[in-house]
Chain length 551, copies 2
């Protein structure tokens, strides 16, 4: 039996703004796959990368998008394959998020995105106009409907395709990772396939872009609802699917292809941190990453992630002790660096600490503690300036939430892979990494983080015998309250019903509010949860709602 | 002749999130004005402050808004005046931006905002649903149409009011200041009045909220298009307008009230910086502001703004010299502090600088320069921690644009009043302040900034004989190119036609792009131009569009 159509899923990693580079990659892949396929499917806005944000508002950018698209259209005249390339499209004063079907030197069809997400990390109503319901079109005698990302979340686009007699639905996506997001996508895809009786190709990109990571895991569903192909998560991946006509009912069907195993929750979270950091560092042209190791679990996990992301050769670690630093911390930090195979050095910050004490009389309390953290920050930034390595920030979500971090001190850095991991998750991922090496990791196998770093009580070591629990509630309780407040928007009464003390909930709420100004100056990090700090959660700094909450 | 209706414009300064406080203020004003008026008009979202951002997505917040609104409705039973109070309104799973007409213990009418701005600093499609065209309603035999902010920017709402026989249009606003914004508002208001033949009451709030300042300047237009009342800019202000029936045509008319003079462009820009800083500092509970004076024009202007905003008693200035600091800088900084009447101290940062040099071998170049800036940052933050004064950051827009600022160094601070002023504007406002005291200023009259600070060549004084123009083009050219790139989204070709060199434009473009990561960690500042850095301009950090630009 001959295939009536062959579609190739090109799960690639475009770079935002790199129109020439992305176009060149598309043309290279077109040549490479021309013999084995009829249509290559690329992810949403592959030409300019996702999300392009306000670049789209620049007419000059739109002109250059058109030029880059034209270069692909021209190249397609000499390559025997069709391409689905998504790009911003200017039409008079309107701008659309459009999938172009390109073949034989021409644009044969256009499909504009209808549902523009404008929640969470998304701002599409800011930069795009809503398209009408897209039309299907026929290629090689197959009636195809192309939709973009959010259009699969609603029934109307698929319904319209069905009414137009679609035989195959192709969905282009730039769908950011979050825990359990894959299940949501599968659920919607399955619903659409079942409603329409059409097989569905779901193609997502991979790669890190500032605050979000795209995890790929593209898949293909038969009209029956059966998943017959699933690509890797967090890696570029390709597969060509051959479609056959079912003589009984006229449906397009195919056989079963490779179905990659789902990653465990821990591996997917860890891999998101790895890919987010890797792409931020290398897409921005840094040589590598620089981390201040403290002997604590956060910086140790960040170092492991950095080694998995950047390779040990491109990671430098620095221990910056004072008189309050325990021997245990010194030993554990050195041990961890050795296990990870990174360059490690030791810079005692006492001279700077002492100098500030002579300069500023009466230093005490928080000011005294912060001087230490900030002297470390200055030291790291100097090393970064000298070596071209980006400082990796290591504050976890629990700390970022309640402001247990020093602005311009341990908050220094270009990117924070732990920013959306609660402290309890930092522990869980540390244990996981000691037992597993992630598929995309470049670091060593085995117990890379010394056990004692995990078991000792956490401490900032900014004064004698300090532990985190002097200032903060138990992390188990804290993280549960924070999830309720940050991700679930729950009321105090509802959180109390989970067994937490009202006074504690109010205290955490207040800490969360007053740390907003610190978070506004924090570096970006990878979104992992359903609501990360950053563009995903937009709160006023000046905000007296707490006064009402405390009544 | 008896007035058929009296309307009071209450141009007040609500606080975001302070539901109880804002409600209490509304009730107090209701009691105060009950005898002299029929309706008190309050600004858009007066109950929760504007913009409430993602607070609105919290069901608990919406419940408390309802509670606070109920408290006003109940109070109104005993006060003989009607109130127009705008608040978020939850209706099932929809959330509206709604004006409530309250009188005699009841909500007599509701008017939901139709046009939701989702550009620039606005995210209203993220948090609100679009209302239907609002209905007019009759109060004291006058047919009134109430619209909210953006609804005045379009013709449809007014057209609908006209069709319903409206006799008076009331427009509630939270319209952020930008240069020339007042003219745009007047233009739209005039158009609406003329289209409908209705008089129009335009009520705006005043006050600073993080990145925006509301400038008030509320006004009233007759059906003829004549402005018959205009309130103060940047100050709370009130006026009661009596409306009469014109027996010839049935129109509502009134006499001429107080018409405040327009502020000069310089005074309005300066006042926006003052009010933005004042409200940020005091609404967030700081005791005052702390500024590192360098002897240069930026920190001198910031100090003058701080004194005008906070009173000299609440401003501390610190000079932090090194061996590269000239005697001229020391003298000028001390002189400026004396003229402004602030507490002034001198902390030599050489001990810290020397300490870092011993800790980090081979310090040189940018790393060596940044250490100085960062030692100053650490010193300022320690003083801030000790005294409860917020550090005021003093980088101008030209510097923020091209990254001529040290992250965690001179970029330290909670708020930056100069953030949206180009360097050429910093000079212009400095000269203006030496000749004028702004109406809302708390500082002294006269030449508060020594002439030499304005006339000497600008220098960061991080190495011997350094001037800004070693690294940057002339500020006149730089600022013009930046305006073209940042605010006008112009192409390189179009900017060349203004007489700039292509290589220079490309250089500035590149500097602008690679400083994005610094700006992401900058503190907020007041929006002055049509596009400020911050929520007003959302750019990817990871962005290779420059590669295409440089082709």
């Amino acid at each position: 039996m001959n295939a009536v159509l062959r579609t190739t899923l090109a799960q690639i990693n475009p770079v935002v703004g790199d129109l020439s580079g992305n176009a060149a990659r598309i043309i290279t892949l077109a040549k490479q796959y021309a013999e084995e396929t009829d249509i290559i499917v690329f992810p949403e806005l592959v030409l300019c990368g996702y999300p392009p944000e306000d670049l789209v508002l620049k007419p000059f950018f739109l002109e250059r998008c058109e030029t880059a698209l034209d270069s692909i259209v021209k190249a397609s005249a000499d390559i025997d394959v069709a391409l689905i390339v998504s790009a911003p499209e200017a039409d008079g004063k309107f701008i659309y998020n459009t999938a172009f079907f390109i073949a034989g030197g021409k644009v044969l069809h256009k499909s504009r995105k209808k549902h523009l997400p404008n929640y969470g990390v998304f701002d599409e109503k800011r930069i795009f106009n809503e398209g009408d319901l897209p039309k299907t079109f026929s290629y090689k005698d197959v009636n195809i409907g192309i939709m973009t990302c959010e259009d699969m979340w609603f029934a109307d686009v698929t319904k319209s395709f069905e009414n137009q007699g679609a035989q195959l639905i192709i969905s282009l996506n730039a769908s950011p990772y979050e825990v359990d997001k894959h299940d949501i996508r599968s659920h919607h895809a399955l619903q659409r396939a079942q409603e329409s009786g059409c097989p569905l190709v779901y193609l997502n990109q991979i790669g890190g872009q500032d605050e979000v990571v795209f995890d790929g895991a593209s898949f293909v569903i038969q009209a029956s609802g059966q998943v017959i192909c699933k690509l890797k998560a967090f890696e570029e991946d390709f597969e060509t699917i051959s479609w056959y006509q079912d003589n009984n009912n006229g449906y397009l069907v195919t056989e079963t292809y490779r179905i990659e195993d789902d990653l465990s929750t821990e591996e997917s979270m860890y891999s998101a941190c790895v890919l987010g950091l890797r792409d931020y560092v290398f897409k921005n042209g840094f040589k590598g990453g620089l981390i201040g190791l403290s002997g604590g679990v956060d910086s140790a996990l960040a170092a492991a992630i950095a080694v998995d992301a950047l390779d040990a050769l491109n990671v430098r670690c620095v221990m910056m002790p004072t008189e309050y630093t325990s021997q245990m911390s010194l030993d554990d930090a050195a041990d961890c660096a050795k296990r990870l195979g990174v360059v490690y050095e030791d810079i005692n910050i006492t001279p700077a600490f002492d100098a500030f004490k002579t300069m500023i009389p009466d230093l005490h309390g928080v000011a005294h503690e912060n001087i230490q953290s900030r002297s470390r920050g200055v030291t790291l930034m100097a090393l970064s300036n000298m070596h071209g390595y980006m400082v990796i920030s290591t504050g976890n979500k629990s700390e970022m939430a309640v402001g247990y971090a020093t602005l311009y001190g341990d908050m220094c850095g270009g990117f924070n892979p732990l920013k959306d991991l609660y402290k309890t998750e930092v522990y869980a991922l540390t244990k996981w990494r000691n037992a597993h090496k992630p598929a995309i990791g470049l670091g060593p196998e085995g117990e890379v983080i010394p056990e004692r770093i995990i078991t000792r009580p956490p401490s900032a070591e900014l004064r004698p015998d300090q532990t985190d629990q002097d200032s903060l509630p138990d992390y188990g309780a804290l993280d549960d309250i924070l999830r309720c407040l940050v991700e679930r928007d729950m009321s105090i009464e509802a959180i109390e019903r989970r067994g937490h003390d009202k006074a504690l909930i109010q205290k955490v709420w207040r800490l969360l509010d007053i740390a907003e100004y610190k978070r506004r100056q924090a570096c970006p990090g990878v979104k992992i949860t359903s609501r990360a700090f950053g563009r995903d959660r937009r709160y006023p700094i000046t905000n007296k709602f707490f006064n009402t909450v405390a009544e």
